[in-house]
Amino acid sequence: MLSMLAKLLKALNSESAPGQIALAFSLALIVALTPMFTPHNALIVLLAFILRINLSAFFLGIAAFSLLAWFIDPYSARLGESLLANPALMEIWRDMYQSDFWRMTAFNHSLVLGGLIIGLLAVVPVFVLSKVLINLYRHRLLAWFNKLKIAQLLKASKFYNLYKSIAE
């Protein structure tokens, strides 16, 4: 975990494009907000491997957003439940339910549907916000942080040595 955190910090501090890290966070959000072992998550993991995004950011993002998901899950499930019970959408759900392919996607699971909807809606804002924050971090916060005494102390720590070895 420490090495993964070190890799994330390296990515944040390195020349990796902010978009690559931000996209990793965005994809991680969808995985975290829906039950882990679902076909769409397998597809997202495949995307994470294929697309040139930061994998450390992706996996750390899953861990971080899973904490968030613990609070959001009841609302996600309620959203999914209401959508699945919505009379206007009933015909669509019924048609999809007749297909093994769609049923394999677990679309009729309240948490999967609700979590996926919230995740998809949040993908773009999270991408943009992450990108902005990474830029801010690199240009302002990192310089300011390096000047702090606590940063000096941290640089003398074991974790920094680990980070440094990875960075090198």
Binding site: P35, F37, T38, P39, V45, L46, A48, F49, I50, L51, R52, D73, P74, S76, A77, R78, G80, E81, L84, A85, M90, W93, R94, Y97, Q98, D100, R103, M104, A106, N108, H109, S110, L111, V112, G114, G115
Partner: protein, 628 residues
């Protein structure tokens, strides 16, 4: 675009996926094996063992080799054992963690096979040791019942709840309670000595004149205290009288009930154990009750094993459907479909079971953990055509838990069952041979069982090995029976249903027994009456005499109450009144004295005049004498 694609990532993904797949393939078999053993043992409450589990990909499925399920009630035997079970799985539902078995075929399914090692679970074995003693007692009691030929007087009295015993206990309890209450009340009542003491004390206070006003006040105070005690004593006597009256009434009522109880017991027992006409239901229950009970017990035992899973489904479905809020882990919402995917579904299972009577074909359909999702009831059909002793056996089990409450139905038909050497367990009688047709229907809903079964016995031959008179009589009577019907009913709570067994065998037996059994009945009743009378006397004992004591006590209390009332009625004279009375008495005394003195003087004067008169007369007489 190129800078966004990482083709090496695809290779990494495939590599990771392959590693995961290989790991899964390596551990899946042992995991399934462990899962079957762990969850199976929990469900069966005995060891469930699997030799091995192998996976197959075309078709997708797995095979279980060498499965044994030990009998929790008899750990040295297996409830069932099979050589191989092959299951074909559907792929798509597996991605959602749903196990849908398209086909399950089982080879060489056997029941009640012997084990070389105990199949008891360690925890269960410990518990078994703990309950070994009570069970031994139970076994002993059942063996005692088995050895009973026909109920003896002592057996009947021991088996039946007797009104005499209840009334006797109530009587004794009532006597001891009231005796204590009466004794306590009597303890507060003054005895004869106390009454005498009161009398003397009262006399001392009320007699003699007051010396002074203080003397009067002192006496008055003492008298008031005495009267307060009289009041308390009167209350105590009244309480004691009431307690005595209550005791006498209650004990009399209980005694009356106790005296009537042997008659009621005899009437009840006569109706239930009548060996003459009309008592045949009891006879058929005696003859077939044990066997029917054994079968019912087995059926209910296995139903109880399965029931928690059925009930769990019901509870789960109800919770999911009725819950207004979505659970935090979400749930699958199902829509109408010809092919729903519940969490677990066994679409079709074909089992060939080897039994001592021959092979049975078991076909199960739609066995699922979520019947409401599937929308069809679970069905199990057992067919045993061409069995050794049965021409055709057909059992249909329908477990319908789509809605709450669920309904489970069993329909059983047995055609031409050649029954041989069925030990009836009574008076050494056995059914040597018979051809039997059986039809039964059992329905369980909301924990209530409602079952009815009919069996027609034809070409019957009984044999009797009994040596006793009753056994011989029974043997002779049974020998004349060619055919009979038995009908059984069970209803009530599934855990403790009430069974009743009837048969026209009873009428036939009654006709055969005829007058001989009436005679036996009369003897039995006479013995019963004697025993019940003995029981009555043992309860009444000397209590009747003690009731007389209560009557005497009541008279004594009445006398004491009168005495205390009389004593309490006496008052102290008023001081002023006493002084006036004394003055009046003194004046009267003086008047009397003066009158007496006057009277005495008058009398003296009169006597003197008389004397003088007499002297004058004497003198006159003397003069007259001298003249002549």
């Amino acid at each position: 675009m190129k800078q966004w694609i990482r083709w090496s990532g695809l290779a990494a993904f495939i590599a990771v996926s392959l590693i995961l797949a290989v790991v899964f393939l390596l551990v899946a078999g042992p995991l399934i094996e462990k899962g079957i053993e762990t969850f199976g043992s929990d469900a069966a409450e005995a060891k469930v063992e699997v030799d091995s589990v192998s996976l197959s990909f075309s078709p997708l499925g797995f095979a279980i080799h060498g499965l044994t399920v030990a009998d929790s009630r008899n750990p040295m035997s297996n409830v069932l054992q099979l050589d191989k079970a092959t299951a074909q799985l559907e792929l798509a539902p597996l991605f959602l963690g749903k196990a849908i078995i398209r086909d399950l075929s089982v080879d060489n399914l056997q029941f009640n096979t012997a084990r070389s090692t105990s199949g008891a679970l360690e925890k269960a074995a410990e518990q078994e040791e703990a309950v070994a003693e009570p069970r031994a007692e139970k076994d002993q009691s059942s063996s005692v019942l088995n050895s009973v030929e026909l109920p003896s007087v002592d057996d009947i009295l021991a088996r039946e709840p007797l009104r005499t015993e209840q009334a006797g206990n109530a009587f004794q309890q009532s006597y001891s309670n009231h005796k204590k209450a009466v004794d306590d009340a009597l303890g507060k009542v003054p005895d004869d000595q106390a009454l005498k003491a009161y009398e003397q004390e009262l006399k001392a206070l009320t007699s003699g004149s007051f010396q002074s006003l203080d003397d009067f006040k002192a006496r008055k105070k003492k008298l008031d205290e005495l009267k307060a005690r009289f009041k308390q004593d009167k209350a105590a006597i009244t309480t004691a009288k009431n307690a005595l009256a209550d005791a006498r009434n209650d004990i009399s009522d209980n005694l009356k009930a106790l005296k009537a109880a042997p008659g009621e017991d005899l009437e009840n027992i006569r109706n239930k154990y009548q060996l003459s006409a009309g008592g045949a239901a009891n006879m058929s229950a005696l003859l077939f009750g044990e066997q029917a009970g054994e079968w019912s017990e087995k059926a209910l035992y296995w139903y109880e094993k399965v029931k928690p899973y059925l009930a769990k489904d019901e509870a789960g479905t109800a919770t999911e459907e009725d819950s207004p809020k979505a659970p935090r882990d979400g749930r699958f919402v199902h829509f109408p479909s010809d092919n729903p995917w519940p969490g677990f579904l066994l679409r079709n299972a074909q089992l060939t079971a080897s039994t001592a009577s021959g092979n049975m074909l078991i076909n199960a359909q739609d066995i699922t953990s979520e019947p409401a999702v599937l929308g069809r009831p679970m069905r199990i059909h057992i067919n045993g055509s061409g069995l050794k002793q049965v021409e055709d056996l057909s059992a249909d089990i329908v477990l319908d838990h789509r809605k709450t409450p669920g309904t489970d139905t069993l329909t059983l038909n047995i055609k031409d069952w050649q029954l041989r050497d069925m030990n009836l367990g009574v008076a050494g009688a056995s059914l040597a041979s018979s051809l039997v047709q059986v039809q039964a229907l059992a329905v369980v809903s909301q924990g209530k069982l409602n079952a009815q079964g009919d069996a027609q016995f034809v070409r019957t031959q009984f044999s009797s090995q009994g040596k006793t008179t009753v056994a011989r009589e029974l043997g002779l009577a049974l020998a004349k029976v060619q055919q009979f019907d038995v009908n059984a009913k069970a209803s009530g709570n599934i855990t403790a249903p009430e069974f009743s067994l009837g048969s026209d065998l009873d009428k036939q037996l009654n006709a055969a027994f005829g007058a001989r059994l009436s005679e036996k009945q009369a003897q039995l009743e006479a013995k019963l009456q004697t025993k019940l009378e003995q029981k009555l006397q043992s309860y009444i004992g000397d209590y009747a005499g003690k009731l007389g004591e209560f009557n005497q006590l009541e008279g004594s209390l009445e006398r004491r109450l009168n005495k205390v009332s009389e004593l309490a009625g006496q008052n102290l004279e008023d001081y002023q009144a006493q002084k006036e009375r004394e003055a009046r008495e003194k004046a009267e005394l003086e008047q009397a004295k003066a009158k007496a003195r006057l009277d005495a003087e008058k009398a003296a004067a009169k006597a003197d005049a008389e004397r003088k008169k007499k002297e004058a007369e004497e003198k006159a007489k003397e003069k007259l004498k001298k003249l002549f």
